[in-house]
């Protein structure tokens, strides 16, 4: 049983099984129906500089158009989208940002306060 041919046979069989499992599981991938954000997404920042209702996750598919409107309770320094490095001055409310989600991954959207501190107001999630 422990002959060289038998062992190689087992190994080959394992590789075949693995490849088949991979193909089957990967084709399953198509029904990924996560709800993606559409239209203008409104975020609000309160007077202490924190997001109203906590940090929301905004999900998009790669290539979608991201449209944000940030309502501020007081003037701030800027709104910053990490990774994309989109910055918009935030001296007047509302702040509007629009860009194409051409990079997949998870990114923080932050408000930069005038005192140099910052707070995350939303998480941008872009599926490939």
């Amino acid at each position: 049983m422990q002959s060289r041919a038998a062992r190689l046979g087992v190994l080959a069989a394992v590789i075949v099984v693995a490849v088949v499992v991979f193909i089957v599981l990967q084709s399953d991938n198509s029904d990924e129906s996560t709800d993606t954000a559409k239209g203008v997404q409104v975020l609000s920042v309160d007077a202490s500089g924190n997001p109203v209702g906590g940090v929301k996750t905004l999900t998009y598919n790669k290539g979608d158009q991201v449209q944000l409107q940030v309502n501020l309770a007081k003037p701030e320094e800027e709104i910053h989208v990490h990774g994309y490095d989109k910055e918009a001055p935030a001296d007047k409310s509302p702040v509007r940002l629009s860009f194409t989600a051409n990079l997949d991954g998870v990114f923080e959207i932050e408000v930069h306060h005038p005192d140099g501190t910052e707070a995350e107001i939303a998480e941008l999630k872009v599926n490939p």
């Binding site: 990924e32 490095d85 997949d104 991954g105 998870v106 707070a119 995350e120 872009v126």
Partner: protein, 486 residues
């Protein structure tokens, strides 16, 4: 007096409630601020997680059925490389140069930390220490051998001082203490835990500042110099010094090693089995696995538990940064204890097999089999962040180490291209790293068992337990990636 007491109590209670609600309110920006990296990995999708986990199981049993029946990796056949090659790489000029580079980089870390910009993403000290040094040297150690030894700034400084002493006094510097054998790699275990504590926890919810990094470097330098004076330079460096022990551990997987000034080669993986025969060896590799797991779980699997602990801490009156520190420290230690327990259970299981050595010896002698898993965890968790941060390291941070606007090499205008890898590539690298690490770990364990037990049958039996431990580690790693990897 009693009315004053009750008043104080009410005020105290009100303060607690206020602190608690403020904590709940402010926690989001505390929790998220530590990431240096602008693009975080998407969680590994469920189908890939399932595929990776089933592949791990299938491969594990396939390996057991086709594996060899006599130990093949237990003897390290180190052969010296040709003299000219060895001389070209290991020579006095190279040693002085390596020491100078090491000391130079240490000075830049300190100078940038104390004098440079406070923004950690723009400062040499933070990016260099936590990415280029801590992660880059792991990769280089596996590929090229124990190269940190050649660049170790503390060793270089120690050798310079002891050399000077010998010239001046005409005799070797006295060594007051003998390094106790029981201490083994325990100082390095503590060092690894504290290093990662500095990276993930010390900032109290934010990244450690360049100033924090410089202070920590000064403290570590002081401790290392004192220990080298007490135990001897080479003795402390090769046994107690954290980074040498840590990088040296990964170097054992690779083929290159310098012995008594001679470069040589060995078969891949045969360097690992000899590594573990020291107290604290298992703890060192388990600490590495634990801190990487903790980093992966901090904002994913464990975020709820850490948040709960954080709120309890701020309820009892800790400031918000301190609550963050206490909560995260507790959970980092719990993860370490959990990882240790898992390994210990595997060892206890092996111990039930006839002809087993005592548990303590068993634990020590299988410790090296986890090095590939520690490496796989590092690759899986930091691969993308490392790619991004090295772009920063070799563009704007190279030319403008302090962040003050200089442009030393003309690369200050560069930046990080986050589009360098797709999420799909990141996922495949992560899952392949874990699966390959798993296979190598099993191979090492199987071979060690053949060298430990008198019959193939008992060796195979003992490996059911190690197999369970490693499947658990690998699937836990996959699970962490499928949740979130921040």
């Amino acid at each position: 007096v009693s009315s004053l007491g009750s008043k104080q109590r009410i005020v105290g209670l009100a303060a607690l409630v206020a602190a608690g609600s403020a904590g709940a309110l402010l926690f989001p920006d505390l929790a998220s601020a530590h990431a240096l990296v602008g693009r975080k990995d998407l969680p590994v999708p469920a189908w890939l997680f399932a595929w990776g986990a089933s592949l791990v199981l299938v491969i594990s049993f396939a390996l057991l059925s086709v594996a060899w029946t006599s130990a093949r990796l237990q003897t390290e056949e180190w052969r010296p490389a040709p003299v000219w090659l060895s001389r070209a790489i290991v020579n006095p000029v190279a040693e002085v140069l390596g020491g100078l580079i090491g000391v130079g980089l240490l000075v830049v870390v300190l100078y940038a930390g104390f004098r440079g910009i406070e923004d950690p993403t723009q400062n040499f000290s933070v990016v260099f220490v936590f990415y280029t040094f801590w992660l880059g040297l792991v990769v280089l150690s596996v590929l090229l051998g124990d190269i940190f030894r050649a660049f170790n700034p503390w060793r270089a400084f120690g050798r310079l001082v002891s050399g000077g002493f010998r010239l001046a006094a005409g005799q070797r510097a006295p060594v007051p203490l003998r390094y106790p054998d029981w201490l083994g790699r325990w100082p390095a275990v503590l060092g690894v835990l504290l290093f990662v504590w500095l990276e993930l926890i010390a900032g109290g919810g934010a990244s450690p500042t360049p100033h924090d990094v410089a202070i920590a470097t000064v403290i570590y330098t002081g401790i290392t110099l004192v220990c080298m004076a007490l135990f001897g330079v080479e003795e402390w460096v090769s046994r107690g010094e954290t980074f040498n022990a840590y990088f040296g551990m990964f170097a054992r997987l690779g083929p290159f090693e310098v012995r008594e000034g001679r470069l040589g080669l060995r078969k891949f993986l045969t360097g690992a089995p000899q590594w573990a025969a020291v107290p604290g060896a298992a703890a060192l590799v388990l600490a590495s696995i634990a801190v990487t797991s903790f980093d992966g779980a901090q904002e994913g699997v464990l975020s709820g538990a850490i948040r709960w602990t954080f709120e309890r801490c701020s309820d009892i009156g800790f400031s918000l940064p301190n609550s963050f520190r206490v909560a995260n420290t507790i959970w980092m230690l719990i993860v370490f204890a959990g990882v240790y327990l898992l390994y210990w259970l595997g060892v206890k299981g092996m111990h039930t097999v006839r002809g087993s050595p005592p548990t303590r010896d068993l634990a020590r002698s299988f410790a090296h089999t986890l090095i590939p898993i520690a490496l796989a965890y590092l690759v899986a968790h930091y691969f993308s962040a490392f790619l991004y941060q090295e772009q920063a390291q070799f563009t704007y941070i190279l030319s403008d180490a302090l962040g003050h606007g200089s442009d030393l090499f003309g690369t200050a205008g560069g930046g990080i291209n986050y589009g360098i890898v797709s999420s799909n590539t990141v996922w495949y690298v992560q899952v392949s790293a874990l699966v390959i690490g798993h296979v190598v770990a099993l191979t090492l364990a199987h071979d060690r068992a053949l060298g430990t037990y008198d019959s193939v049958r008992n060796a195979s039996r003992s490996q059911y337990f190690m197999l369970a431990v490693m499947v658990a580690f690998t699937c836990f790693g996959l699970f962490l990636l499928s949740q979130a990897n921040a």
